[in-house]
């Protein structure tokens, strides 16, 4: 029986979410890593909370970046290992559609979760509650962009030995603008000035990647799967 594109998309999305929730420990690990890394900075630097607040945007964003990178490995790897990825490529549906579904599911369980946990981290770093909305918005845009950049990187490195390190090497330079604008947005929110500029930049980067990255990630997968 042939399946329509929308139904195929929903099926893949459901499958990914179902598989993710079947292993709750795998879901929690990046979040725990996020929390641990953010506590490393205050412990290591031993600062007053008010001084910590100055560093908070940068620390928050570096930690978010690193924990997102950790979880990127799972995007294609397990499917590549058991041959499902090839089946998905051959099944007759648009591979791009499947990639979008997989990446969206991945973002929902990693990036979106990170955004929800970020107020806890914000409190730990001394970020005032009034800045939380901007902080979470910037993280939402940034993690989505990062999921897409990671999809390209993961597509290129799946199946390589020690692909994780190479994945980080590929994704981090592309993610640096995210860090700059995300930290700037959070910083402006803390100092109660308008965060519109950096947020617009983040949104622009997000739109750019969401529109172009699916094709790049699909091309990457085709190269790897050939």
């Amino acid at each position: 029986m042939t399946v329509g594109a929308v139904r195929a998309f929903n099926l893949v999305l459901q499958r990914e979410l179902c598989l993710s929730f079947r292993r709750p420990d795998q879901l929690l690990q990046p979040l725990v890593f996020f929390l641990i890394v953010t506590t490393l900075f205050p412990l290591g630097l031993n600062l007053q909370l008010s001084l910590l607040r100055d560093m908070a945007p940068g620390v928050l964003w570096v930690a978010a970046l690193l924990s997102s990178l950790l979880s990127l490995d799972s995007l294609f790897k397990s499917d590549a290992d058991d041959g499902t990825l090839e089946q998905l490529a051959l099944c007759g549906q648009e591979l791009t559609l499947i990639v979008v579904a997989k990446t969206l599911a991945h973002w929902l369980v990693t990036g979106a979760a990170l955004v929800l946990v970020s107020p806890l981290v914000g409190i730990a770093l001394g970020i005032p509650a009034g800045a939380f909305v901007i902080m979470m918005s910037s993280l939402a845009l940034g993690t989505l962009t990062l999921s897409w950049l990671g999809a390209i990187g993961a597509g290129l490195t799946v199946g390589l030995r020690r692909g994780n390190v190479l994945l980080s090497l590929i994704v981090l330079p592309l993610a640096m603008p995210l860090l700059v604008f995300g930290a700037a947005a959070t910083d402006r929110a803390i100092t109660a000035t308008s965060a519109a500029g950096p947020l617009y930049f983040l949104a622009a980067l997000c739109v750019l990647t969401c529109t172009l990255a699916p094709f790049a990630a699909t091309a990457a997968l085709r190269i790897t799967l050939e």
Binding site: I152, L156, T157, L160, G163, L166, L169, I170, L172, P173, L174, M176, P177, V180, L208, A216, A219, A220, I223, T224, E226
Partner: protein
Amino acid sequence: MWTWFYKLASPPHVYAAAGALTPWFAVSAAAAIGYGLVGGLVFAPPDYQQGDAFRIIYVHVPSAWMSLFGYTSMAVAGAIALIWRIKIGHAVAAATAPIGASFTVLALVTGSLWGRPMWGTYWAWDPRLTSELILLFLYAGVMSLRSAFEDPARGDRAAALLGIVGLVNVPIIHYSVVWWNSLHQAATVAKFGKPDMVGSMLWPLLSMFLGFMLFHGAVLCMRLQGEVLNRERQAKWVREAITA
């Protein structure tokens, strides 16, 4: 009529052409760089603001240009190979990468040494410097990705895709001084209209640009011969080419 174009895609022709062109590139590069150095170091008058430190421009700006040109040509060559399956493109991309990366390092370090007396700091996290540093990381990523694959053909294709993705950084580097309040000086030469520099300073600089481009051509031809041989080891034409 288009045979010269088809020959560009043919490995034995490229190998032979690269070998023939290398000495021409090398000699003209030496002449252009020689004139640029003498003109820039000896005959150009000192800048009224920066004194003799401005002479760093004669290596810093051409190498920065080459870093961008190198990445762009690497990405374009990879794209041609990926889209139209013209395999020689992969060889060109692989050959250009280390050259461009070395110029990026040169641009960053000479810029840093120039920044110390002029801005008071060896480094600043301003948009142009940061994006140029990102360019270096992108070069490293492309080169590492290519070598990480056991199948060289797959490595070539993956590296080509990554090169294209990273191409977005190049206009950011170039326009960063326009879009943001940057510490780095705005464009004086690489813009349309009359350059804002006096002739005795400008001509050696243009000569250095030309010299670096010709040098890049010479080294590219050498590396390209190596890359073509590595990819075409089994082909028949190789026998005559290397015993010649």
